[in-house]
């Protein structure tokens, strides 16, 4: 008996030769180490400095002008000097306007940022395309060169066409959400150590309070920058509520340590103990401030 051969089957794949060669595929992007410093771009002259300097120059210029005017009263006789002073005034006015605009932008950024916060339950129900759109929309609020923006770039580089919506969410969490939060915790840890150390060496309560105000404001700015938010100086108002709580709690702690100090009658060891306790408290409260901020921006 010969082998019973199967009947030929209909092909469900059709092929045609193309008049082109196979395109080359690029190597995957190399992952650069994310180097980000809270004050990394401070080397260039900021707008604030320009405004201040041009203002000072204006004052000096007008003073000079006044001095010169007292000697030469005729404007037509001194066209260059008056032009220069006019130009300086223009620079000052312009930079001040830009600065005001940036402050206003920072002020509105907070609302926009907190309103555009990603709702995990909403994202969980999204398909891949709307999910990516939502993530990209959210990422538009990240300021350029911020850590969050760098993380988002890495996320985009990691995306592959076969990733499902769940995998995109997982990848975003790994590359952006978790990484940014980890960095924010690192920054907060550093700031809290700084707060504790400076409180410890502060000679009196006035300086101590000023130090805490300064470190708290710096913490707010640096943590916000990690999240890609530039709140601006005026824009911190929402965050000041947390700061006020921070300071109120610190004042209560001051009272308590003062009382203990009085009881021990002001010896050197008591002073050391007081400062140590306040340093620990300042550090801990700075952590609270930062954590509240992280919760707000997360």
């Amino acid at each position: 008996m010969s082998a019973e051969r199967p009947t030929p089957l209909r092909s469900k794949v059709s092929q045609r030769t193309l008049e082109q060669s196979q395109p080359k595929v690029d190597l995957p992007v190399r992952v650069e180490r994310l180097e980000w410093q809270a004050d990394g771009s401070a080397s260039r002259l900021s707008l604030g400095s320009i405004a201040l300097m041009s203002g000072a120059l204006c004052v000096l210029g007008f003073a000079l002008f006044d001095a010169m005017q007292s000697i030469i009263v005729n404007f037509s006789a001194y066209p260059v000097a008056t032009s220069l002073l006019g130009a300086l005034l223009s620079v000052f006015t312009l930079t001040l306007s830009v600065l005001t605009f940036r402050e206003w932008q920072g002020f509105t950024n907070i609302s926009q940022y907190t309103q555009s916060r990603l709702q995990e339950d909403v994202l969980a129900e999204m398909d891949k395309a709307p999910l990516l759109t939502a993530l990209r929309d959210h990422a538009r609020h990240f300021s350029k060169h911020s850590y969050a923006a760098q993380c988002f770039t890495r996320f985009e580089q990691s995306l592959q066409d076969d990733h499902s919506a769940a995998e995109v969410r997982k990848l975003y969490k790994h590359c952006v959400t978790d990484a940014v939060e980890k960095k924010a915790q690192e920054v907060l840890k550093k700031e809290s150590v700084a707060a504790g150390s400076m409180t410890f060496i502060s000679p009196n309560h006035l300086i101590q309070t000023l130090v805490i105000v300064w470190i708290s404001l710096r913490t707010i700015r640096r943590v916000s920058l990690v999240f890609g938010l530039r709140p601006g100086r005026l824009g911190n108002w929402k965050l000041l509520k947390v700061l006020a709580q921070n300071l109120a709690a610190q004042s209560i702690f001051d009272l308590a340590t003062d009382e203990v100090t009085n009881q021990i009658s002001g010896s050197l060891s008591a002073k050391f103990m007081e400062n140590s306790a306040e340093a620990v408290a300042a550090g801990a409260l700075n952590v609270r401030l930062g954590k509240t901020l992280i919760r707000l921006l997360r």
């Binding site: 008996m1 199967p6 089957l9 196979q22 995957p28 992952v31 990691s158």
Partner: protein, 458 residues
């Protein structure tokens, strides 16, 4: 003086060294023992080549590969190294890469290779840095010919049981299309004459011809698959056997039955048992590689046969989930995680991948049922070890380099999402995609390996 001192301290040094190794093993190593159960041509060798190439470039070149593999964070990988496993030849990675460099696919595996892939992760927690400065994630892989794995179910059978079931398989589709010549030979064979070595050789040659042809035609369940390879482990020419008609296997006094039963027992004791002990023991995770295209290329019956083969294979492994104490102290090994992996997924358009995944689930349903009542985790994956194809403007088409190295567009009709949805008179011819010139970026852009490793390491 020194030799005496050395003699005295040597046992202590040995003890200290053994203690250190044990400490490292318990606290500094996270060992994952994989058994890769893949039939012949399922893409095992290419998968290993790809996996090692990707991990190497990921850790040394910092290329953004395997983005979903968060269990091995890129920033924590200190280095990666390859080590042989005692008693095994090291996997020929360089040879395989050199083959790819010459635009040839790596040769199919015809001997067993064993290797450890050790990825050292830095410890970043400050206190832990002093106590446990690093963690070595150790992957132990054993690559072996796919023909061997199909023989494992023979361990649970007697010769007559095996012979009868093989005979029954040959009578049904798709084997029946290719077994005609062999069966005709058996019908005309004189079994009344005594089984001399010449007669046995004639029978073996005829059976081998059938096995080779059936393999060419995509049959996955061929036993003994080991006879298809000239391995050193078992001399089948000297002590071979073939299935015999039921009238002979039912007669225990028949000289042919007695001889082949004896050879079958030798095959089990000298080859299969040691093979199972050495190659398939101590695994805690199993990757079952499945080439769906092999079935789609041939026929619906081939897909059913693939399902049956997987179901038989699942019977031969020990599944369970031992705890840390049983695993590390009592050295009890059971497979606690199973990944069903459909390979060569770059050969199907992305739009068809959902159907491919459903088809994979359907084909593995019989195997899944074998461990459904056991506390093990299993998942299905689509993987391409290398992206040989490119996306086309049409969702159901793709482009690839054919055997003449011409760039070709292939358009697919919908791939069935289950075997029963596959028409009996249709097939999806396998795309004979060649090694692309830019094979390295295409390996690094492979898909699905990160999902697979993440699942296995979690």
């Amino acid at each position: 003086m020194y030799p005496v001192f050395d003699k005295v301290t040597k046992p202590f040094k040995k003890l200290a060294s053994a203690g250190r190794e044990q400490f490292d093993q318990w606290f500094l190593q996270d060992t994952h023992r994989f058994t890769i159960t893949g039939l012949s041509r399922s893409g095992k060798s290419m998968l290993f080549t790809s996996l090692m190439t990707i991990l190497k470039h990921r850790s040394e070149g910092q290329y953004n590969c395997l983005p979903l593999l968060t269990r091995l964070p890129m920033e924590l990988v200190e280095h990666m190294r390859l080590e042989p496993i005692d008693g095994y030849t090291l996997f020929p990675l360089e040879e395989h890469l050199s083959e790819l460099d010459n635009r040839r696919w790596p040769q199919p595996t015809e001997q067993v290779y064993g290797f450890k892939l050790i990825v050292r992760l830095k410890q970043i927690a400050r206190v832990k840095q002093w106590l446990l400065p690093y963690t070595d994630v150790v992957f132990e892989f054993i690559d072996y010919p796919g023909e061997w794995v199909t023989d494992l179910p023979m361990l649970n059978k007697t010769y007559s049981q095996w012979s009868d079931s093989t005979w029954a398989q040959q009578a049904s589709e798709p084997q029946s299309h290719f077994a005609g010549g062999w069966q005709q030979f058996v019908r005309e064979f004189d079994f009344e004459s005594s089984p001399t070595s010449e007669k046995v050789q004639q029978l073996l040659d005829a059976y081998l011809r059938y096995l080779h042809e059936a393999k060419q035609q995509g049959i996955s369940m061929l036993q003994p698959g080991s006879f298809l390879l000239d391995s050193d482990g078992y001399d089948w020419r000297k002590a071979g056997f073939t299935p015999l008609p039921a009238k002979i296997t039912s007669d225990v006094s028949h000289p042919w039955n007695q001889l082949f039963s004896q050879h079958f027992l030798q095959f089990q004791s000298q080859w299969l048992n040691p093979l199972k002990q050495s190659t398939f023991k101590e695994a805690d995770k199993q990757i079952i590689l499945i080439d769906l295209f092999e079935g789609l290329n041939h026929s619906k019956q081939h897909l059913y046969q693939l399902k049956e083969t997987l179901s038989h294979l699942a019977e031969t492994f020990v599944y369970g989930n031992p705890n840390w104490f049983s695993r590390h102290v009592l050295n009890k090994s059971q497979i606690g995680k199973v990944a069903f992996v459909a390979t060569k997924m770059d050969l199907a358009p992305a739009a068809q991948h959902d159907n491919m995944l459903s088809l994979l689930k359907d084909i593995s349903a019989g195997a899944v049922a074998k461990f459904a009542d056991k506390p093990i985790k299993f998942e299905h994956f689509l993987v391409s070890a290398i992206q040989t194809t490119d996306a086309d403007s049409e969702a159901d088409s793709l482009r690839f380099l054919n055997a003449n190295r011409e760039y070709v567009e292939a358009s697919f009709e919908p791939i069935p999402d289950a075997i029963k949805a596959m028409p009996a008179d249709e097939h999806f011819p396998l795309l004979n995609a060649q090694v692309p010139d830019d094979y390295l970026p295409r390996i690094l852009n492979g898909r699905g390996l990160d999902r697979l490793l993440q699942f296995l390491l979690e």
